[in-house]
Every structure is written in structure tokens, then in C-alpha cells.
């Protein structure tokens, strides 16, 4: 799985272009930029995605949403997918903000 770039030690947020619509079975998400539709399968994952910004990092958001240690890995995999599709993004890395993105990458990766 491609997790390059997803760092659960950082603070993330739902991308502002993403609309979240809760459903009995989880939530439907639509990204107005990519026009992609996705489906979150658990209420806990919906809670995580919508509260990400309130926490200093992803781990704290998972804790607050009640994700158990046994579930943690599958939640991190799901969040890595959401980061890869642009559904969630690091805070301080606004869409199209190339300067912020470059600065973030330089700080995180140590390579251009």
C-alpha cells in the first residue's frame, strides 16, 4: 500500500473541497475538486475524519473517536488512502498552496 506522505504524527483535516454526508451505514463523501465519491464504512471513521482538525495529530483523533488498539491498523490504512486521494490533508498544506506543501515536505522528509 502506498503510504508515502501520510504521517499520523501530524495534524490533518478534512480537505475543504470535501462534502461529508452521514448515512445510517457510515458516510458518503464527495470531493468537488477530484469529483470522486467515496464511502466511509464505520461511524467511528466518520467521527475521525470530521474531528481530525481538532486534534494535534491523527493518533489523538483516533483515541478520541474510540478506536481500539486492535482496530488501529485498519484505521491508519484507511486514513492513508484518504490522504492519497486528497480527502484529508495536513493542516498548513492548503490545496494549491505549493509553498506550504514544499515547506512541509522539506521539514518532514529532509529531501527536495
Amino acid at each position: 500500500m502506498a503510504t508515502g506522505g501520510f504521517d499520523p504524527g501530524r495534524r490533518y483535516r478534512r480537505a475543504p473541497e470535501v462534502a461529508v454526508r452521514p448515512e445510517p451505514f457510515g458516510a458518503l463523501l464527495y470531493h468537488f475538486g477530484t469529483r470522486r465519491l467515496s464511502f466511509l464504512k464505520t461511524a467511528a471513521l466518520v467521527r475521525v475524519v470530521t474531528t481530525l482538525e481538532e486534534h494535534p495529530d491523527v493518533h489523538a483523533a483516533l483515541d478520541a473517536a474510540g478506536v481500539t488498539p486492535a482496530q488501529r491498523r485498519s484505521y491508519l490504512v484507511a486514513l492513508a488512502d484518504l490522504a492519497a486521494s486528497g480527502t484529508i490533508e495536513t493542516v498548513g498544506e492548503a490545496a494549491g498552496d505549493a509553498v506550504g506543501e514544499a515547506a512541509g515536505e522539506a521539514a518532514g522528509e529532509g529531501s527536495p
Binding site: 465519491l37 464511502f39 466511509l40 464504512k41 471513521l45 490504512v77
Partner: protein, 39 residues
Amino acid sequence: MPSDETPQPATEDAAAVEAGLVEESLVEEVSIDGMCGVY
């Protein structure tokens, strides 16, 4: 033998179950482009 964290399943059934568990994702990307009237 691949070096795995988990032991090889003993039976075909167990392998199938494990494969299902490993593949199940909490996120499903969807395309409704196969649907009528969606421009």
C-alpha cells in the same frame, strides 16, 4: 516461504478468511459513472 508476521494458514478455508480480512478496507471509492442521467 514468505517471512510473514502471521503464520501460514493451515487450511484453504482459513486462507480464504484471512484474505478477506486483509482485503477489507474501511473506505470504498465509488464511481457512479455507470448510472443513468449522471453527466
